[in-house]
């Protein structure tokens, strides 16, 4: 049996759900969102490791049209964000539109039907418009470690935490030193008899200006929601200011670096450890991390910093690239996500029958960061060049949702059957992105990061400018970039 719908959304994280809410709010009811898991929330559902929290203050990291007066902290913990997303889905009446446990397996553009045919784990769907909201942090990246099968203890990825494993008093190895790792490590340090951190490259770290909101502050937010707007504005523009660091302007980069150096020197007294914790690239080239607990955990007596990658497992021992061997009971892989080559792209086949992943053989790209030539009637939220190193991605998602609403208005009013971005428009957009990227810290900062596609050296994940300019440039549908074929008018 085939389920037919006007609009099919893939995923129900901030992107897919935000799209669904706005479809509903604009009076569109003929849509379905498919979700491979059993709940909404995306990365906030999947990531429930100890210590999980967001790096963007909660009053900004939430939908602008669904403010939450009850955030308990400046940076609220992960479960609170997940509960917020769940509540948004309930309050906005989206749950009946969601088909859970439904994983997209293959989406194919059917030229004759002018429809997307979407095969899922729960049957086939057909939709005129396909919208992906699969995010950058959807599929955990597991490095290929020789002999890992022979490890006798427990092994799991940070995005698939095994809470059944008792970690108390264990010898725990944490692989990675990125955004997840630095939240997990302080929690593991408290539990472990010994902890070994395998670090390929040291991250930059700045203080986390976190605190609890008082009941009075929360009551004020309920009584006068304009206070939330003011906070959002303040947080947003303070974040925007920091784009000057990513733009790699010496004065602002050096200010950020000074903050990071001071934080490290204040918290790490051992010169040898401090040297190992000192990055060898420019600040911001990789994600800039915020934590007050990471350095103390790394300085603790039961912590060993192995300043090289985990290379292999042999005779039950974890062996680092440096050759050092460790006896461990548990290995936690906080090794990030498949962001540069998102797995969803291997499952979407356009008008020439080529997968988006194969089409993107030199890296992801999309016109206005949302549409790809050869893939009609498809909109990608939070895809190529939408990530930020300095502000809230929810803001970007909202801009993209607005763009799609504009496209839908045009499609509906002009009775468009097929909408496809022009090749030259897409190329011109990518030329612009390439120009904007030059000299930014992501390309010039001397690091290997998930922001850059190493097949082409192009910046494919990040929007290399202010967040506000993303909305200015990509928050409104641009019909001039598209070919739109209207349905023939039926003879009466």
């Amino acid at each position: 049996m085939t389920t037919v719908t006007e609009i099919l959304i893939i995923g129900t994280g901030f992107a897919g759900l935000g799209m669904a809410i706005q479809l509903k709010r604009t009076g569109r009811d003929d849509f379905i969102a498919i979700e491979r898991a059993d709940d909404v929330g995306g990365t906030w559902r999947d990531n429930h490791y100890p210590g999980i929290a967001c790096d963007v203050p909660s009053h900004l990291y939430s939908y602008s049209y669904l403010p939450n007066p009850d955030w308990t902290r400046v940076f609220s913990p992960g479960p609170e964000i997940q509960a917020y997303i769940r509540k948004c889905a309930e309050d906005e009446g989206i749950l009946p539109h969601i088909h859970f446990h439904t994983e997209m397996l293959k989406s194919t553009w059917d030229e004759a039907k002018k429809r997307w045919v979407v095969e899922t784990s729960k049957g086939t769907y057909e939709a005129k418009i396909l919208i992906t909201g699969t995010g950058h942090l959807a599929d955990g990246h597991m490095p290929n470690i020789e002999g890992l099968d022979g490890f006798e203890g427990d092994v799991f990825h940070s995005a698939n935490w095994d809470h059944s494993v008792d970690l108390e008093g264990k010898r725990i190895g944490v692989v990675g030193s990125g955004a997840s790792a630095i939240q997990i490590i302080p929690e593991m340090q408290k539990l472990a008899s010994e902890m070994v951190v395998f670090q390929r490259s040291a991250p930059y770290m700045i203080p986390r200006w976190d605190r609890e909101y008082t009941e009075g502050e929360r009551r004020l937010c309920r009584r006068d929601p304009s206070v939330i707007d003011e906070m959002r504005s303040e947080i947003f523009w303070a974040g925007e200011f920091n784009f000057a660091q990513r733009r790699n302007i010496p004065r602002f980069l050096n200010e950020a670096k000074a903050l990071a150096v001071r934080h490290r020197e204040d918290n790490v007294k051992d010169p040898e450890l401090r040297a190992k914790l000192t990055p060898d690239y420019e600040i911001g080239c990789k994600r800039l991390l915020i934590s007050n607990t990471y350095y103390p955990a790394m300085s603790a007596e039961n912590t060993t910093l192995e300043a090289s990658a985990l290379k292999k497992v042999e005779n039950g021992k974890a062996i680092a690239a440096s050759g050092t061997e460790y006896d461990l009971d548990v290995l936690v892989f906080a090794t990030g996500f498949e962001a540069v080559r998102p797995p969803f792209a291997t499952r979407i086949f356009g008008s020439e029958g080529i997968s988006l992943d194969a089409h993107w053989d030199r890296g992801m790209q999309a016109y206005d960061s949302i549409a790809v030539n050869g893939y009609p009637n498809l909109f990608i939220i939070n895809g190529p060049n939408t990530g930020l190193g300095h502000n809230s991605v929810v803001y970007i998602i909202e801009a993209q949702v607005d763009y799609i609403l504009g496209a839908l208005d045009a499609i509906e009013s002009q009775k468009v059957e097929v909408i496809e971005v022009k090749r030259e428009a897409e190329d011109a957009y990518m030329d612009k992105i390439d120009r904007m990227s030059q000299g930014t810290v992501w390309l010039a900062g001397g690091c290997k990061s998930w922001y850059v596609d190493d097949r082409s050296g192009r910046l494919t994940l990040v929007w290399p400018d202010f967040a506000h300019s993303f909305r200015d440039e990509n928050g409104t549908f641009h019909p001039e970039g598209y070919m739109m074929n209207s349905a023939p008018v039926a003879a009466e």
Binding site: L60, S64, D229, E230, R232, S233, E234, F236, W237, E240, F241, F243, A244, R247, N248, I249, P250, R251, F252, L253, E282, S392, Y395, G439, T440, V441, A444, G445, G446, F466, A467, H468, S469, R471, D472
Partner: protein, 280 residues
Amino acid sequence: MLDDQPYRDGEVTVGGVAVRYRVAGPDNDRLPLVLVHGTAGSIDGHYGYIFPMMAYRQKVIALDWSEPAGDTVELADLVAQVKAVIEAEVPNGPVTLMGYSLGACVAAKVAAEMGNKIKNLILAAGWLKTDTHQKMRNDVWRQLRDQDSASITQYMTFCAFSPAFQNLKTLDEMKAAAGMLKMSAFVDKQMDLNTRIDIAAECETITAKTLVIGCTFDMMVPKHHSKQLFGAIEDARYAEIPSGHAVVHERAAELFHYVDRFSAQPDQYEAGAIIPAQKP
């Protein structure tokens, strides 16, 4: 590797003194943007953010005021310096001119005098005519200065930043920021000039497409002054930033947003429009 933007220094002589300026950014379909700083300011002090960031978008020219000969500084002296830089650097064709604080008063007068040469005008935290409220603050400043009080920079800092911004810092951090302000005879003369501004008649003659930017929590040049400019200049639109007077530091990115949008699309809002704040 830092992205050291290429820039070029220039110099013109005005009334016997050398006026230095800086040029950066590509020539493109935007008009050159000329930046005029405010009291006790400089290119780096007031446009340390706007200058380099705008130079990724377009050609930008900014000058540092030089102390003119004489016992006082007059608006005409500073106007002459700005005009000389514009004439030297953009001999042909129109420009977009931006002034901040006292620099906005200067820029408005330049626009009145240069007519079509100033096609677009941006006035941030400027004013039309010095009023009693400003004279009160200026008078306290004058007394502290006459007493050679160490508190003068802290007083200036207290007046410059909004309560909300100060509350993001500690007292020690605010005092450290104050310690970076430097007094001089030239600053004294600028502060004296601040008590005598009246460009009401000139503003009535400005033909430039104008963006007036007021600051909601400005205690030095409260936003009613920007509203007065918005009323006095025929082709003006108004935007407001929730900041103290030191908007170039406090809300530099939001100020950039308005300057960038207006420079790219001066026609986006019609005369008389109050531009809604972006709601992130």
